[in-house]
Symmetry: C2
Subunit: 305 residues, 2 copies
């Protein structure tokens, strides 16, 4: 009665799983899940994963799940520290953004609904560090200015904390969205953010610590730039003099995104304070190039308490 039952081996079990997944009606889901099974099994076979290690992984993933709350996305942090977010972001950019500004990670601190502010406004409510002005233009890949483009910025304060990490993020701060003028120009004031450690008090932080990694991101300002008919750009500007500029723990830094503060740039729209100039180039929109590698953590539903 068990004529069609076979003794599974560490090789044949993979074929058995793929045979069951072959019934998946959605072709892309079938492709992705089948590949996930093959690679997961190859991984387990390559390292000869033991029951104790498997159990440690189950325990770890459970802790990561329980650490996810409406203001914290620990799975994104895990993906970030494994370079998987960066890889997906880079592939996304390679797919359709030729000639556009290099992208970078959205990260786990992005929030929907940041206030739209007038040109030149400061995005930081309480400042204990000198202001700087960030300015430049948004153009298409040929350099033609894009008027009315949205330029969103979000960052840590001068102590390395996002609003979400201060008093549970009840108030939005260090975030703002601006619009370019008729010549595609934007500018806003802020303070230089401090580089910071990813949250080290959770399971992902403990894993990063166990790897002997410092867990720091270099100082940066996140940017989200969009214009009708053009591909949304998720990127960030990195301060080149940060000690961790070449060892970002989440692999977001690219050379073309490194900036410095000019002290006396006569072209800056506000004089007497430091300035950072960056011009963004947006590729034309094409089919199927939407989507962000990240989201507002509130979009992931209720937390474990």
């Amino acid at each position: 009665m068990a004529g069609d039952v076979h003794d599974l081996t560490s090789e044949s079990v993979t074929e058995a799983v793929l045979a069951q997944i072959a019934t998946t009606p959605d072709a892309r889901m079938r492709e992705v899940l089948s590949a996930a099974v093959r690679h997961a099994h190859d991984f387990a076979r390559e390292v000869r994963l033991t029951p104790a290690e498997w159990l440690a992984a189950i325990r770890f993933l459970t802790e990561v799940g329980h650490a996810c709350t409406p203001i914290r996305q620990e799975f994104i942090l895990l993906s970030d520290t494994f370079g998987l977010s960066a890889l997906v972001e880079i592939m996304h950019n390679e797919r359709a953004a030729a000639g556009g500004t290099q992208s970078s990670l959205l990260g786990p601190f992005f929030r929907e609904g940041a206030p739209e502010l007038p040109a030149g406004a400061c995005i930081v409510k309480n400042r204990t560090a000198p202001e700087i002005v960030v300015w430049g233009r948004v153009t298409d890949v040929d350099g033609a200015p894009l008027a009315g483009a949205t330029v969103g910025a979000w960052q840590t304060d001068e102590n390395g904390l996002y609003d979400l990490q201060v008093e549970g993020g009840a108030e939005m701060d260090m975030r703002g969205t601006f619009r370019t003028d008729g010549q595609g120009r934007y500018h806003f004031r802020t303070v230089r953010p401090l580089g910071y450690s990813i949250p080290m008090d959770g399971p992902v932080g403990r894993l990063v610590h166990a790897q002997g990694r410092h867990g720091f991101r270099p100082s940066h300002i996140h940017m989200l730039v969009g214009a009708p008919g053009h591909r949304e750009l998720v990127t960030a500007l990195y301060f080149g003099d940060d000690a961790h500029i070449a060892s970002d723990t989440v692999f977001g830094v690219s050379r073309s995104l490194v900036v410095g503060i000019a002290e006396n740039d006569p072209a800056a729209p506000i004089q007497g304070i430091g300035s950072v100039r960056y011009d963004f180039k947006l590729a034309k929109a094409s089919g199927g190039d939407g989507g962000r590698v990240g989201a507002d953590p509130a979009a992931f539903g209720k937390a474990a308490e």
Copy 2:
């Protein structure tokens, strides 16, 4: 100042991650994490994972984490339905159990502390189906009887539910541990369990459904057999006439573990009821062969509520 910062590509990002992981002090952790990164990146590159798909995966894993409670381990269920648990179990058995009984999955319904019962006792408190007797011997791989071996059994009731799924599992039922006599013999009474669907009301169940899989496990009795100086055996006995015997949704069935109910076996220790005979063979213990592919879900800490 950014002289050592490079623009990452979808190929070079993997090397950047491996370079950071190279500082991991523990050699085995370094090996396992490095392999995990390589295979995860290979997977993402092979399928050209999109931001939307990546985000769906983050969302899914978060839901799986939030579904984990002290009486439910959704990550083990995920591993089970991907055949990863079976693979780790098979490798564990291949490593050191030559000549011993084939292993099978511990599954997500194992509980520590099942009552030790006298030989012949029934593990089911309220019976609405005919009793059967499960009996046989525990020996070493050469057939020498092992006296005082522990034989643990757990199963669903005749409706396909574990005690954990009835009233939150407040009371232990359909579980018991027995000891072999001087000749290595064991026997206990139970009812024939019903095959059952894995929990389909959570994220893993929804994924299995989306794959067009039935989600059923064939009728089986879990067994945990141990004796001093011998390797613990985690296995299960599967009823060969079950409709899902060849398509177990968690890949636990091996041919050598398939049993049937004999109606009139004169050798059975209790007459007048159906009987299932199974002899277990335990391999000698060796270094580093411990560990179970699974655990009592209560061992994974507090739940998301």
